[in-house]
Symmetry: C2
Subunit: 168 residues, 2 copies
DNA sequence: GCAACCAGTTGTATTATGCAATCGGTATAA
DNA sequence: TTATACCGATTGCATAATACAACTGGTTGC
């Protein structure tokens, strides 16, 4: 984002200029909720079938804007590991609110809706817990271990339960 | 949105397909925080100078998707009054979170940042109060009158105070 | 009657996105 | 060693979204 294409100094507008395109927030969603960290994972394991050129471009832009970082994967010379930055992690409340709104008003599929429901019911407290978990996996910040399954684990377990039930 | 261009049943994706373009949320922002209700107001009184054809298209789309409604203005045969629906009003938490994130991480202008700060500090309680106020102005739902200035009035007063100070 | 205002529309240029094929390089297993 | 699958992209081309300026037909107030 240069000064020339900045439309205004409004915080909502500025946020939209960073993540307001059709794909950025979906890539971030997959990194957060699906723990996709490699190019190939983001490319093939998302519901929406993003094109490789779009994904490459979005990752580059998100890198430039400080939403994600990229490190070499020691296990494979070509692989890179993408991580969310603190700023990227703090996009979670936006995604959570979008998720809640979509769940309430749009034809959400059952298996993808369950996460939206849990996240909405959990509220800001659960979001904070999940963000702490993301700080651990993406930033390497050690957290105090809490009792029971983590927020991410609870979301994942609920999702898998619905998938298993629907399969029958 | 037809079935064919629906990318997935994910609530975040579905929400993005409704308001995930470059302009929709800015139009909704102006209706909420700037009380812009007519085409001409939305066209000329926004910071970002939307084009008239884009605005016309966005309003049409938002109408179709049930985010806004349009009524004739009794004071002028050509004027229409656009109002937010309940679904539109409930986009406020998304805007509030975007506002908070932008305020924290992007070069927000002082006069536009003050609203972001108040909205963020006010939290979900203030958002609920503001949404009630929007229900009154946009849906005609009578609310119990509370003591002191309303949430919208407080935001507006803070904004005007900064503008007045910067003018000197 | 006329200027200012009103909600859009039209035409055209530019930019973003979408899709399929492909690239040079890397790991893996026979 | 060679074949195969995988890896992160890149290229070329088609279509869709956005941007900008000019304009339309109608309304309002003086």
């Amino acid at each position: 984002m240069t000064d020339t294409d900045r439309r205004s100094g409004c915080p909502i507008n500025l946020t939209l200029e960073v993540v307001g395109d059709k794909w950025s927030l979906l890539v971030i969603r997959d990194m957060m909720f699906g723990n996709r960290r490699h190019f190939r994972e983001l490319l093939t394991k998302s519901e929406e079938r993003i094109s490789s050129n779009i994904l490459a471009d979005r990752l580059k832009t998100l890198l430039e804007r400080g939403i994600v970082t990229r490190d070499d994967d020691p296990s494979h010379k070509q692989k890179g590991i993408y991580s969310l930055t603190e700023q990227g992690i703090e996009l979670l409340p936006i995604l959570a609110q979008m998720s809640a709104w979509g769940y309430k008003y749009l034809p959400v599929s059952e298996e993808l809706g369950i996460r939206a429901r849990l996240l909405s019911e959990g509220g800001p407290k659960m979001w904070a817990e999940f963000m702490d978990e993301l700080r651990e996996t993406h930033l390497g910040v050690k957290q105090r271990k809490k009792a029971g399954p983590s927020a991410g684990e609870r979301l994942q377990a609920a999702y898998e339960k619905v998938v298993a039930r629907k399969k029958k």
